[in-house]
Structures are given as structure tokens and as C-alpha cells.
């Protein structure tokens, strides 16, 4: 990997990406220094693999996976960075807002694992095939996805505090009395 990246303009990179993703992407255009690739969620995984494994573009580095809640639709966003060129690409997949489901790309880039957990947590986008889709930042806000535009601040119901992850100590017969006595 060279230290001096071979700088490509985003127009040129857009051309390359359009060629690569012919038939997969609905739209490819350069915007504000990056290549925006709009595509259907069903084709996301295939496109991700192609972008990663392409020798020329080589988008081996996923900056983040996130999402935007437009009030009529949801968008899954993936920002990719080429390791060979100074090119940033954005994968954008429009989702149904009432039931936002996108395929996971955590098998393409491992880093997506946590980013998808975060997006699931904050926006409620479900990632199909994600190995460990749990809430990550706001564990207590059950059923609330704070970054949705219709979510308002609300009091989180608190359970009685308890140790998580540590089971109750195993007691031998008669041990209960000993502890109480001492």
C-alpha cells in the first residue's frame, strides 16, 4: 500500500463505480467530494462485496454504517473509503420506514457489526443476518429508538438495580444460615 494515494476525482471514481455496479445500483453520482451510490436494499450485500473486492477501487475500509430518518422513508448509509485512492463512497439504500430491514454487511466488513448494532439501537433498522443484533448504547430504552424523528424524550422505566452478568453465588446446603449468622 503506497503512502501517497493516487488521487482520483470523485467524477472519475463515480464512472468506475457505475461500470462496476452496472445493473445493481439505481443511481451513481458524485456529490460534495464523494461518490453516492443509491441502490435497493436487496442488492446491498452483492454491491458491498463487489466494491470491496474490486482491484481498482478497493473499498476495503468501511468508515461507518448508519442511517437517516427522512420522515417518509428510512435510509441506510454506508461510508466507504478506498485504500488505494483518495476516494470516499456512500452507499445509500432507501428502506420502508414502518419496517426498516436491511441485509447485514458485517460479513463483508467486520467493523459493520458494531455500527449496525448502533444503528439498530438508535434508529431501529433491523439488519438481517447480523450475528449479534443487540442494543449497544441505550440498553435501558426498551422499544424506543431515540434518533427517529418522532421519538420524544421520555422517562425511562427503571427496573430495580441488580448485578447483570453475574449469577447468584452457588450455595452449598446450609450455607445460607452461615452467611446470615455471621
Amino acid at each position: 500500500m503506497s503512502a501517497e494515494p493516487f488521487v482520483t476525482g470523485s467524477e472519475e471514481a463515480a464512472g468506475l463505480a457505475e461500470e462496476l455496479l452496472a445493473g445493481l445500483a439505481a443511481e451513481v453520482y458524485p456529490d460534495a467530494g464523494r461518490v453516492v451510490i443509491v441502490l435497493q436494499p436487496g442488492r446491498l450485500h452483492e454491491a458491498a462485496l463487489k466494491l470491496r473486492d474490486d482491484k481498482q477501487l478497493s473499498f476495503k475500509y468501511l468508515s461507518f454504517a448508519g442511517g437517516v430518518d427522512h420522515k417518509d422513508r428510512m435510509e441506510a448509509i454506508y461510508i466507504l473509503r478506498s485504500v488505494n485512492h483518495s476516494v470516499v463512497a456512500e452507499l445509500r439504500a432507501p428502506l420502508d420506514r414502518s419496517l426498516p430491514v436491511a441485509p447485514t454487511v458485517s460479513d463483508v466488513w467486520s467493523t459493520a457489526g458494531w455500527h449496525e448494532r448502533e444503528t439498530f439501537d438508535l434508529l431501529g433498522i433491523e439488519y438481517e443476518g447480523h450475528p449479534d443484533l443487540r442494543r449497544i448504547l441505550t440498553d435501558a430504552a426498551d422499544g424506543v429508538h431515540p434518533l427517529r424523528k418522532d421519538s420524544r424524550p421520555q422517562r425511562v422505566k427503571r427496573e430495580e438495580w441488580r448485578f447483570e452478568g453475574i449469577g447468584a453465588p452457588r450455595r452449598l446446603p446450609g450455607e445460607e444460615e452461615r452467611i446470615n449468622r455471621s
Binding site: 503512502a3 453465588p169 452467611i179 455471621s182
Partner: protein
């Protein structure tokens, strides 16, 4: 004087000295650590209470004394309370065989060395009890680490004490000091002294072997649940009392005990103890901490073989040259110390790099510029 009166006077003197040594070290050493390591890391350290902060340890002591004595709900209370007391046995009793000057020993045992070794093991029991009774996972890990570590490092420690006993031909500490009239044993057996220092650091749970209470990993190890004066017992009286015992033993075995220029008196012994304690503080300010597996490897693969070789060669030389064994022993010991110091760094580096190469082929030390 009747036998009974003599016994009572003896007992009182023994108790006073036995309690004074750990108490004084608990007052002096933590303060010295804070000031000296502060000096070494370019800051001031505690300097507010009294002139230059000299009353800081007293203020700390009062604070600890006045704090509430808390035991965790699920702890085994009796063992929890017993543990500091058991650990405290070591510094109180072990001090009784140390010769402070000519003819001034609380108990001039002819097996003084064995006595010290035997009683220094009591600390392990106290620490294990503390770790177990606290009902806390960090405490338990700390206690277990401590047992593994102290039991392992006791072996090289004892082996080196045996070397000195062989050179002297006696187990009494008075004889050990008596034998160092012409030359201190540090000049005869620097290798044994080196191992004694290293094993001592591990026995005392001091940096770089402070794993039982490694605060960045185990919070405070076996001390986690202790507070107030029970904490003070462990942290001040036991740890620093043991450090004093270790330094007293080291000074007696290797640095000529109370001997010194002009007249032999306890002042020289105290000076030597302070020098050794300074070394402890110096290590504390300089070194990171070892890892458990590295710690055990170091004891069993380096220190014990080294001590055994030293023991064997020294014993052989004593048998072969019963009248003039000191010069050849010294020659052997100095030669091995110099070799070890020269070789240790490169050999260790090579081993570590080999390990790294196995994990990720095609690597070398340092970074490349691009």
C-alpha cells in the same frame, strides 16, 4: 535477677521492639514512597501537613483509625476480621531474631534463619484469607495470585539464604554478622544478593511484582474490600513491616548487619535498611508490572535454576577448599553476575521477538518510516 523478672523484662522489650519496627516502618515508608516517587516523577508529593509534610503519615493514620470498620455483607466476617491479624504475625515475630548490635538480639536463636523463613510465610495465609473472605472476585484473584507468587519466590529466597548459611557454617544470625568482620557477603556473593533482592520484591508484592494488588487490573487485589484501620494494618503495618523485615534480613545477611566504620551499632543497620528501602521505592517509580505467567516463568525457569547452580558451585568450592573458599566463590559469583547483566537484555529481546514473529510473520523490532 530471678528467672521470672528476667522473663517479664524480656517479654516487654520484645513486644516493644517487635511492634515498634512495623509501626515505624508503616509511618516512615509510605510517606517516603510518596515523597521520593514524587521527586522522581517531577512533582512535589504530600508537603502540606507539618514541615515538608512530615506529619502526613500521622494524619493518614488518624484518618484510618477514625474510619468506620466496614465488612461486606456477604463476606465471611470472622475470617475477614482475622486476616489482617494473622498477616501481622510475620513482622512482629520475625524481628525478634535480628541482631541490632553486638549482643543485642531479642532472641538469639541458633536457628534464626529458619525462624525468619518460617514466619515470613504467615503473610501468605493472611492474604489468602483476606482474598477468600472478602467475597469479591478481584480479592479472590489477588489472593490466589499472591499465594502462587509468594510460594514460588520463597524457594529462590530460601536457596540463597542457605548459600549464606553455608558460607557461615551456622544458622544463627549473630554468627552471620560475626562472619562478616573482614568482608561483607555482598562482595562474596553478589549473585545471591541479586536474587535475594528480586525474590524479595516478589515476596513483598512490590513493583515490578505487585500483581496481588495491581490497581490497574484488580482494583486493589486482596485489599479491595478493606477500609479503615484493617486496610491500614495490611497496607501499612504488614506490607511495610515485611519490607522492613526483608531489608533487615538483607542488611544482616549481605551488608554486614550492624557492622560499620568507627563502632558497630544499630545506626548502621538502620542506614542499610534505608538504603534497601530506597531501592524498593526506586523500583516502584521505574518499572511497569510483570504478568502472572511471566512472573511464574521467571521464578521457576530463571531464579530457581540460577540459585541451584549457585548453591551447587558454592557448596562444591566449600568442600574442595575448606580453608580458603571465599576468593573462588567470589570470583564465580561476580563472573556470573556480570554475565547475567550483559546477556539478559539481548537474550530476552531475542526471545520476545521470536515469539512475535511466530504470531505475525515478517516483523522486526521498531517501526519503519514510509
Amino acid at each position: 535477677m530471678s528467672w521470672g523478672l528476667s522473663f517479664v523484662i524480656h517479654l516487654i522489650a520484645a513486644l516493644v521492639i517487635g511492634l515498634a519496627v512495623p509501626a515505624l516502618s508503616a509511618l516512615v515508608f509510605p510517606f517516603a514512597v510518596r515523597r521520593l516517587s514524587g521527586f522522581m516523577s517531577d512533582r512535589l508529593g504530600p508537603n502540606r501537613v507539618g514541615p515538608a509534610g512530615f506529619f502526613q503519615p500521622i494524619a493518614d493514620f488518624l484518618k484510618l483509625l477514625l474510619k468506620e470498620d466496614v465488612a461486606p455483607l456477604k463476606a465471611d466476617r470472622r475470617l475477614f476480621r482475622l486476616a489482617p491479624a494473622i498477616a501481622f504475625i510475620t513482622p512482629v515475630l520475625a524481628v525478634s531474631v535480628i541482631p541490632f548490635s553486638k549482643g543485642f538480639t531479642i532472641a538469639n536463636l541458633n536457628v534464626g534463619l529458619v525462624f525468619i523463613v518460617a514466619f515470613s510465610s504467615f503473610t501468605v495465609l493472611g492474604i489468602l484469607l483476606a482474598g477468600w473472605a472478602s467475597h469479591n472476585k478481584y480479592s479472590l484473584l489477588g489472593g490466589l495470585r499472591s499465594v502462587a507468587q509468594m510460594v514460588s519466590y520463597e524457594i529462590p529466597m530460601i536457596l540463597n539464604i542457605i548459600i549464606i548459611a553455608m558460607l557461615v557454617g551456622s544458622l544463627s544470625l549473630n554468627d552471620v554478622v560475626g562472619a562478616q568482620g573482614k568482608i561483607w557477603f555482598i562482595a562474596v556473593q553478589p549473585l545471591a544478593f541479586l536474587v535475594f533482592i528480586v525474590a524479595g520484591m516478589a515476596e513483598l508484592n512490590r513493583t515490578p511484582f505487585d500483581l496481588p494488588e495491581a490497581e490497574s487490573e484488580l482494583v486493589a487485589g486482596y485489599l479491595t474490600e478493606y477500609s479503615g484501620m484493617r486496610f491500614g494494618f495490611f497496607y501499612g503495618l504488614v506490607e511495610w513491616g515485611n519490607a522492613s523485615i526483608w531489608a533487615l534480613t538483607g542488611a544482616t545477611l549481605f551488608l554486614g548487619g550492624w557492622r560499620g566504620p568507627f563502632a558497630g551499632n544499630p545506626g548502621w543497620l538502620i542506614l542499610k535498611v534505608l538504603v534497601l528501602a530506597f531501592a524498593v521505592i526506586w523500583f516502584f517509580a521505574t518499572f511497569p508490572r510483570l504478568q502472572v505467567d511471566q512472573l511464574m516463568n521467571f521464578a521457576w525457569k530463571v531464579l530457581i535454576p540460577l540459585s541451584l547452580v549457585n548453591l551447587g558451585v558454592t557448596g562444591l568450592l566449600i568442600i574442595l577448599l575448606p580453608n580458603s573458599f571465599l576468593p573462588p566463590v567470589a570470583a564465580f559469583s561476580w563472573a556470573s553476575v556480570i554475565t547475567i547483566i550483559l546477556l539478559m537484555g539481548p537474550v530476552l529481546r531475542k526471545a520476545l521477538l521470536r515469539k512475535r514473529l511466530k504470531l505475525n510473520p515478517g516483523t522486526e523490532l521498531g517501526t519503519s518510516q514510509s
